[in-house]
């Protein structure tokens, strides 16, 4: 009832400005014609984008590491997470609540610890961390998001639809596959998108697990900040921001999913 209170509105505007400030600043700097980290006033330039796509380290980090890793991690997370969500909601298992808590663990265990733990294991076993280590780690981080989205959609489906299908002659499995799964499609796609973004944006796990041949875009950005690189960093960041923003819009507009945690 206080949703339109002027004090609340002022506060909301300030908090949203605070949330968006660092992102808008990065986007601004990426169009700066000079090599200073400034927001351009007047002339804008695309030179840092040209530099981004012309620099092999940046280009490879995006096209050969970040995108393929995120696609693979998201595909695996979607399959494993959707199955787990169906099992969690539909199977008759004891201690459902306990399973549920355990299933959400990757959200609560700090991802730097997962990264460090995976790094120690792979070096102990005698191989360097590689593409697969990164995919496995990112897959683990993405699964809880898939379970959340698919699980809550599954709970919301009217059981009478399935009853109707079965009374018309479907076997239970047919009823599930032909009635329930099509209704889950947009949720599964949203789960996949979430898992993709989680992998694509991750830095904490990659910090430990990414090797010289598997430098993801966030890692490349991080090391360039340390080497005090030029605004190509801002262009690379803006590319990241645009991809993430587009995917979230996609979930909202096409999949009609209420994005959230």
């Amino acid at each position: 009832m206080y949703g339109r209170h002027p004090v609340l509105r002022l506060l909301i505007v300030c908090v949203l400005a605070f949330l968006l400030a660092p992102i808008l600043v990065v986007i601004g700097v990426s169009f700066n014609p000079t090599s200073a980290f400034r927001i351009p006033i007047g002339a804008v330039s695309m030179r840092w984008y040209a530099r981004f796509f012309a620099t092999p380290t940046f280009r490879d980090a995006l096209f050969l590491v970040s995108l393929p890793v995120a696609l693979a991690a998201s595909a695996l997370a979607t399959v494993i997470g959707s199955l787990a969500a169906i099992g969690l909601v539909r199977a008759r298992i004891a201690a459902r609540g306990a399973f549920e808590s355990v299933f959400m663990l990757p959200l609560l265990i700090p991802s730097i610890l997962l990264g460090a733990a995976m790094y120690l294991v792979s070096v102990s076993l005698g191989f360097r961390t590689n593409f697969l280590t990164l995919v496995l780690g990112h897959m683990l981080l993405g699964i809880p998001y898939v379970i959340r989205v698919v699980g809550s959609a599954l709970v919301a489906i009217d059981p009478r639809l399935e009853e109707a299908a079965r009374s018309l002659g479907c076997t239970p499995v047919q009823a599930f596959l032909r009635v329930v799964v099509p209704n889950l499609r947009s949720s599964i796609l949203s789960g996949a998108t979430f898992a993709f973004i989680v992998s694509f944006s991750d830095i904490n796990l990659a910090l430990f697990v990414a090797g010289p041949e598997t430098t993801t875009l966030p890692i490349q950005i991080y090391s360039q900040i340390f080497w005090e690189g030029d605004p190509t960093i801002a262009a690379a960041s803006t590319v990241q921001i645009i991809i993430v923003g587009t995917l979230i819009l996609l979930m909202q507009k096409i999949f009609k999913i209420r994005v959230g945690l």
């Binding site: 009832m1 949703g3 609340l8 506060l11 909301i12 605070f18 949330l19 660092p22 992102i23 990065v26 980290f37 399959v79 494993i80 199955l83 787990a84 909601v89 539909r90 199977a91 008759r92 298992i93 459902r96 609540g97 808590s101 299933f103 959400m104 609560l108 700090p110 730097i112 610890l113 460090a116 733990a117 995976m118 790094y119 120690l120 102990s124 780690g137 897959m139 683990l140 699964i143 709970v155 059981p159 239970p172 009823a175 944006s201 830095i203 910090l207 430990f208 875009l217 950005i221 900040i225 801002a234 960041s237 990241q240 921001i241 993430v244 979230i248 819009l249 909202q252 994005v259 945690l261």
Partner: protein
């Protein structure tokens, strides 16, 4: 745990298709992943944390408490205290800023909520390194704010970089959505009529928030606060970029010991301490949730 539990309608649907004896095939793959990628590697860390550091082979299997004892060194005590302090300040700041936003999202129209959620979720999903970089560009000595201020003839007055405050500012921005989203879901379940009833009985806006909304949304607020704290005490990139040499957090020490110093046993001991803090808080929040549920049942 947050989220799903509240939305599961329990046994009515769960028991409905009696044809899934193969639940193993459904949750089995994920259980294998959890064991292989999460449990075993962490158990390995726990084991290494009580082994002896050996510069030639990372560690040798002689039991020792030295790695944990080294954490009592004043330097590491200071790092641990600083980490917990930054986590606490970040959590409180996120709760103070996030609760009004969550209320606004829970009570606004469907059209506005789509835009509002985009503005909250998009920053949440952008890599934390990019957001920290944005703060560096904004707050730096020759950053956007100082340059603008100089152009207005006010000079470069902002000298916040490489302080704990800079780390906290960046962390609040990183963590805020994690608090807003669960809190929003909790407030949505509170009927507006309760606010109206309290208001009709003479409560002002502050009283309605303090006596009605905050207690009823407490479970969501608590699970959001837990997420914020866990993320805030386990960052590496943000303190490295915003805090300089003198504001290092536990994550920075773990990173250096694993990657640079290669003292795995000591790094493992620090990792175990971090996990212990997280699990203790998780247990505490579960117990608090159960106590709260019992009290509300008795009250009803």
């Amino acid at each position: 745990m947050p989220a799903l539990s509240s939305s599961l309608p329990g046994e009515a649907i769960a028991a409905y298709p009696p044809w899934i004896p193969g639940w193993v095939w459904l949750i089995g793959p994920y259980l294998l992943v959890l064991i292989g990628v999460l449990v075993l590697p962490l158990a390995n860390v726990a084991a290494i944390s009580v082994f002896t550091h050996d510069p030639r082979a990372f560690w040798s299997a002689r039991l020792t408490g030295a790695n944990y004892a080294r954490l009592l060194d004043p330097y590491y005590v200071q790092v641990l205290v600083r980490t917990l302090r930054i986590g606490l300040i970040t959590t409180v700041a996120c709760a103070a800023l996030g609760f009004p936003v969550a209320y606004w999202l829970a009570r606004c129209s469907r059209r506005v909520v789509t835009i509002g959620l985009f503005l909250i979720v998009m920053p949440m999903m952008v890599s934390t390194v990019i957001r920290s970089f944005g703060w560096m560009v904004l707050l730096g000595r020759t950053g956007v704010i100082n340059v603008a201020s100089e152009a207005l003839g006010l000079g470069r007055w902002l000298t916040i970089m490489n302080t704990e405050a800079a780390v906290v500012i960046a962390l609040v921005q990183i963590c805020l959505p994690l608090l807003v989203l669960p809190t929003m879901a909790a407030i949505e379940k509170v009927p507006v009529s309760l606010e109206e009833a309290a208001s009709n009985l003479g409560a002002g806006a502050i009283t309605v928030f303090r006596r009605v909304l905050i207690p009823l949304a407490a479970p969501g607020l608590a699970s959001g606060a837990l997420l914020v704290f866990v993320v805030a005490i386990s960052v590496v990139v943000t303190p490295a970029l915003m805090g300089g040499r003198s504001n290092r957090m536990l994550g920075n020490e773990i990173y250096d010991q694993v990657i640079t110093a290669m003292n795995w046993p000591f790094a493992s001991a620090m990792a175990i301490v971090l996990i212990a803090v997280v699990l203790a808080l998780l247990g505490l929040s579960l117990a608090a949730g159960r106590a709260l549920a019992r009290r509300s049942v008795r009250g009803a």
